[in-house]
Every structure is written in structure tokens, then in C-alpha cells.
């Protein structure tokens, strides 16, 4: 028996104890029996839990993102035939980036919409991990879509680094952050509409800015663009964390019948 444990026992019992070997053996045996008779929990890492969800969560999201990507590719390929394509490219890619961020919307509040929240929250994976799995799925899809847009437009870009940062990453991160901010604070039934409206607004503003202020924006320092992206990324991280920490019981309480 360890000294610490002996000391703890002494302190608890407030008297000196000198257990016999036989008693110790018996205690060990009882502890083993209790340990063996408990329900065995299969070892499972968070990574395994999250990736196991991809098959079910990813199907509708990636399908939607795939369709969106095909539409964007077709749109860009048609646009490339136009003489104005190079001058309109920043506007096009920025709107495309906002559009990509919007493909995650149908996933928000899906559990609640289809009354799956109670079952999902009471399983081993837990609600925050399931949200994390969904965020990972959306994130992977978004990265693929953005990479495809960059690859398609790369050959036509006059200042690739600035355009990628200012007209692809920045509008994408901005619309992601704004929509998640709304989703976390506005009632779920209205959140998607408000977010959609705001993202369309961001798209329109970016289209106007990219068309009218393109030379000015591309001349801005890369450092400033990186700082803006980093700030948005950080905000997005906190919004994701907030989303994961939301207690499912909050909306279960609302539906209680009195």
C-alpha cells in the first residue's frame, strides 16, 4: 500500500491503522471484482469518433458543395471566353468565395429541424463532438472548393497573392464569421435567412469594391491582408467554439409544453 494512500486513510479515519496482509488481499480482490464487473467502455479516440461521422454527415454537405463547385467551374469557364474576364476576375472570385461559404447553411440546425437533437445529445459522441465533426466536413469541402477556384483563376491573375488574400480568403472568412456569428445568436428558425441576406450583402459589396476599387485594393500591403485574414480566422475559431459549447437543452426547454 502506498504511503500516500495510507496517510489519506489515516487522515480520513482519524486514527492509526495497520491493515493485515489478509485484509489487503481481500480488498484488492474486491476491487478487482468491482472493476471487472463494470460496463466495459470501448477505447475510442476523439479523432475516431469524428471521422466515423463523416460517412453520414458528409454525404449531403459534399454533394451540395460538389454541385456548387461544378456550377462555379462552368461559370468561370464561360467567363474566360469574355475579353473583360481579367478585369472582372477579382469580382468573380470574391463572389464565388462567398457562395462557397454559403453551402454550409443547410447543415446548420439540421438536428433540430429533423428532431434528432435529443438522440444525438444522449449518445457517447456528445453534442460538441458531433458539431466538430460537422465543422470538419464543411471545412474540408470549403478548402477543396476554394483550392479549385484558385487553381482555375491562377493563370489569369495579375497579382496572385493579393487577389487570393483580398478577393478569395478575406470575403470567404468574412462571410463564414458573420454567418456563424448570426447562427450563434439569432433563433435558429430565422438565423439561416438573416445569414443568407448578410452573405448576399457581402457578395454585392465585394462585387462593387472589386469592380470599382480593384487597383486600390490590390495595392494594399500583403501584411495588412494577412492581418485581416488572421483576425477573421481567430474570430471564426471563437465562433466555432461557441457553437460547439451551445447546450442542446436550451432549445429543448423552449419546446416544453405548459
Amino acid at each position: 500500500m502506498s504511503k500516500d494512500f495510507r496517510q489519506k486513510l489515516k487522515n480520513e479515519l482519524q486514527e492509526s491503522i495497520e491493515p493485515s496482509e489478509a485484509h489487503l488481499d481481500q480488498t484488492v480482490k474486491l476491487a478487482h471484482t468491482a472493476y471487472d464487473s463494470r460496463r466495459k467502455l470501448r477505447n475510442m479516440s476523439t479523432f475516431e469518433m469524428i471521422t466515423s461521422q463523416f460517412r453520414f454527415v458528409a454525404r449531403p454537405v459534399w454533394l451540395l458543395q460538389g454541385i456548387a463547385l461544378l456550377c462555379l467551374c462552368a461559370f468561370m469557364c464561360v467567363g474566360m471566353m469574355s475579353e473583360q474576364f481579367v478585369s472582372k476576375l477579382p469580382a468573380l472570385v470574391s463572389v464565388s468565395a462567398v457562395f462557397v461559404s454559403m453551402t454550409a447553411f443547410p447543415l446548420y440546425g439540421r438536428s433540430r429541424r429533423y428532431k434528432m437533437r435529443e438522440i444525438e445529445s444522449t449518445t457517447r459522441i456528445s453534442h460538441p463532438r458531433l458539431i466538430l465533426a460537422k465543422l470538419c466536413v464543411v471545412g474540408i469541402g470549403d478548402v477543396v472548393c476554394l483550392a479549385a477556384i484558385i487553381i482555375l483563376a491562377l493563370g489569369e491573375m495579375t497579382a496572385p497573392a493579393q487577389i487570393v488574400l483580398m478577393f478569395i480568403l478575406l470575403p470567404f472568412l468574412l462571410s463564414c464569421t458573420v454567418s456563424l456569428f448570426i447562427m450563434n445568436r439569432v433563433k435558429e428558425e430565422y438565423a439561416t435567412y438573416v445569414s443568407t441576406g448578410l452573405c448576399i450583402g457581402i457578395g454585392v459589396v465585394y462585387w462593387t469594391m472589386a469592380t470599382k476599387l480593384q487597383p486600390l485594393l490590390t495595392q494594399l500591403s500583403i501584411g495588412l491582408a494577412i492581418a485581416a485574414c488572421a483576425l477573421l480566422l481567430l474570430t471564426l475559431f471563437f465562433e466555432c467554439r461557441r457553437l460547439m459549447r451551445q447546450i442542446p437543452s436550451q432549445d429543448l426547454q423552449e419546446v416544453l409544453i405548459f
Binding site: 466515423s52 429533423y114 434528432m116 438522440i119 457517447r124 437543452s249 429543448l252 409544453i257
Partner: protein
């Protein structure tokens, strides 16, 4: 094995959904009986951990469940009152999805799903979309998902709604067998669902647990209060207004046999009769029943 509810309360503003409920649930089938709005669902949600109690705690074998995390969530199966599903899911997809949420390995869940589909006679519809199934079949899919992890505690909120009489009987038998060394807690306002299978019952009213015991123990509360009588058809309306008539049966001679529950013999020539759990329910919830009937 014991699931203990200790002074559990849940309040929403000035409304109390569950009021200082205490109960020690041991192995066997437990019926949680109460009218709609009695607090059954809130209590069950607190047992599953999706609702945080305002005060009090839930203990599983002496350990507070809120500290057990995954280990507790792995130990129970839960069927909520409203059974939801994603529209793209077939029965198999759905069960596989819940199995992965419960952390069951693929090799394990394949066998378990086959077993449960067989047990709940769902094998023929395994490839069908859940949205295309009848209400009873959807409910059975819900019961299957709750049993996927072979839980020690099975919590079922109104499990028999939507099941036809045959399915109800099969379901009762299934639960009786399942509860041999486990805890099965069924919340219902359909008393006949638990009358024959519940080892013990807990009765909830206005957020409080007002009675706990076996069916026979609880029935002593209405002992001597249930009567049977024969009345003329023309008198029925009058007696319905003065006493709590439980059942009415037309006789060949044109008269009516009634069963009623009351402190006193309200109908002349009444005979005391054996009380049933349904009588107790109607006695305890007479105000709610009267409101429902517009009295």
C-alpha cells in the same frame, strides 16, 4: 444496479416542471405514469443528462451521473417522445448512424442491427426510407436505436404511441425479457402499457412523485372505491354528471353496465369491484380528465 434520483427539481422562471422528486430505480420494468404536463418528459430528460436540473442530482450506482460523462451515456439507451430522423436515411442507415454515435465498432453493430431488426420484425423494411414507414414501424426503429448499445438502463418516453394492439403486446413481452437484469423506465399516460409488465410504478402529478410501488400496492389507494352497476340507458347522462364513470357497456336487455369510481356508492345497487391501475389513474387525475372532457 440502481439509478437514484435525489431531490431533483427543474424550474423555468416561476414554473416548476419537476418538484423535489426522489426515487430509487432498481432493476426491472418501471412505469412512470402521469397526465400530459405532469413532468415525466422533463424528469426523463434530466435522467439522460440533456436537461440540467435546477437542484438535486441523479446517481448511477452511487456515482453522480453528471461526473460520469461518456461512461454514463454509454450505459443507457433513450427513446424520446418525438422520434426524429433525417429524410435521406433508410432504416439500416439510421441504425448505423446511431451505432457510430454510440461508439460501437462496425463488426459489432452489423450483428447487433441484424438481431434487433429480426427482434422488432423490421428485417423486410431495412432498405426502406424511414419516412415511408408507418408510425408504428418508425416507433419500432426508435426502440431499436435505443437498444443498440445493449444498455443497462433503457429510458423510453411514450414508447407505445402509434403501435397497434399486436405490436403493443409484442413490445411488452420484449421489454419484460430485456429487463431481467436491467433497468427499464417507461413513461406513459396509457396505463395498460405498464399495468402487466411493470415491476414497480411511480406516479407523477404536477411535477411531484406522489406514489411509488407495485401495481397491487398502489391499488390499495382506490380499494373500495370502484363499483359496478346496471343502469337504465336514460339515466346515463345524469350519472355521468354526478360520478366518475370509467367504462360503459351496453347489455342485451337494453340496460347499461357501468363501472365507476367514487368515495361513496353513487348509484343504487352498486357492487364493489376489483380496482385496476387505470381506475387509480382516473382517480388521481380526475381533475385533468374533467378538464379534458370540458366539465
Amino acid at each position: 444496479m440502481e439509478l437514484e434520483i435525489r431531490n431533483l427539481s427543474k424550474r423555468y422562471g416561476n414554473k416548476t416542471a419537476v418538484d423535489n422528486a426522489s426515487l430509487a430505480i432498481t432493476t426491472g420494468v418501471w412505469g412512470l405514469i402521469g397526465a400530459n404536463g405532469a413532468g415525466k418528459t422533463t424528469l426523463m430528460r434530466m435522467l439522460t443528462g440533456i436537461l440540467t436540473p435546477t437542484s438535486g442530482k441523479v446517481l448511477y450506482d452511487g456515482v453522480e451521473t453528471s461526473t460520469m460523462g461518456e461512461a454514463y451515456r454509454d450505459a443507457f439507451g433513450y427513446l424520446p417522445q418525438t422520434f426524429g430522423f433525417y429524410p435521406e436515411f433508410t432504416v439500416t442507415d439510421y441504425l448505423e448512424y446511431v451505432a457510430t454515435l454510440k461508439g460501437i465498432s462496425k463488426s459489432e453493430y452489423k450483428t447487433k442491427i441484424d438481431e434487433l431488426l429480426e427482434l422488432l420484425t423490421l428485417t423486410d423494411v431495412r432498405k426502406k426510407h424511414i419516412k415511408k414507414l408507418s408510425g408504428g414501424m418508425q416507433r419500432r426503429v426508435g426502440i431499436a436505436q435505443a437498444m443498440l448499445n445493449d444498455p443497462d438502463i433503457l429510458i423510453l418516453d411514450e414508447p407505445t404511441s402509434g403501435l397497434d394492439p399486436g405490436e403493443r403486446v409484442r413490445f411488452r413481452n420484449l421489454l419484460s425479457e430485456f429487463a431481467q437484469s436491467r433497468i427499464v423506465l417507461i413513461s406513459t399516460h396509457i396505463v395498460s402499457d405498464v399495468e402487466y409488465i411493470a415491476t414497480r410504478n411511480a406516479i407523477m402529478k404536477d411535477g411531484e412523485i406522489i406514489g411509488v410501488g407495485t401495481t397491487d400496492e398502489l391499488l390499495t389507494g382506490v380499494s373500495g372505491k370502484v363499483f359496478a352497476a346496471k343502469i337504465a340507458r336514460s339515466d346515463l347522462a345524469y350519472y355521468e354528471s354526478v360520478t366518475r364513470i370509467v367504462s360503459i357497456k351496453g347489455e342485451d336487455d337494453g340496460s347499461i353496465s357501468v363501472r365507476y369510481i367514487s368515495d361513496t356508492q353513487d348509484i343504487p345497487n352498486s357492487q364493489p369491484t376489483e380496482p385496476r391501475l387505470e381506475d387509480l389513474y382516473l382517480w388521481l387525475f380526475r381533475q385533468e380528465a374533467a378538464q379534458k372532457e370540458g366539465f
